[in-house]
Symmetry: C2
Subunit: 118 residues, 2 copies
């Protein structure tokens, strides 16, 4: 397996880990786009959201709840934060192991600026 | 209750509904930022992700799975789509009833353009 996230989860590649349990691992994005930019990643390899099934409902809920709790730990629950899951080409998914971006620590525009869509 | 989304869910305000079950309602954003821009909204009023608790794990998982299924229905599961949950001021949350944006139908940049953060 050449999956970068699997290698991080298995401890074979370094990353700044923040949290870990039996279902998910959370670490800092190595190219942060905001002051807080973490990735919540299922330990099991799933290529993208398109691979997820009904039986993964709890896993998905756990990913969101974990992100919510980590946002609180990072002290950004009141200032605000954004969760993003990118699936496939149009969304710019770059690593094909399902992951949830937790970004915050700065004011983020939404709706997005015109420049965001090319 | 003056919540716009509660009123849509109760049928008191018009919206272009796409899906409905006992837990969630899905409708078109009235100011779409992409060709496909839907909102997946829990029927129960929750102000934001900060109000969500451990007992809501299934609801959260169901929101994501619903978005995945609707993306397939809309024919964008292969071209790609983005899921976004905004919480609080920094994320630009504008309606204080928890909602998940499902956006797609065009190429979306990620990491975001410099202009997106003000």
């Amino acid at each position: 397996m050449n999956c970068v996230f699997c290698q991080i989860i298995e401890g074979k590649l370094p990353a700044r880990l923040v949290y870990r349990d039996e279902l998910v691992t959370v670490f800092h994005d190595r190219a942060p786009i905001t002051p807080v930019h973490l990735l919540v990643v299922p330990n099991r390899h799933l290529e993208s959201l398109n691979q997820v099934q009904e039986a993964d409902r709890e896993l998905l809920g756990h990913m969101i709840l974990t992100a919510q709790q980590i946002a609180a730990q990072m002290g950004i629950q009141h200032s605000g934060y954004r969760l993003v899951i990118n699936t496939g080409r149009d969304a710019g998914q770059s690593v094909f192991h399902l992951h949830l971006h937790l970004i915050g620590g700065t004011r983020m525009a939404f709706p997005l600026q015109p420049g965001e869509f090319s």
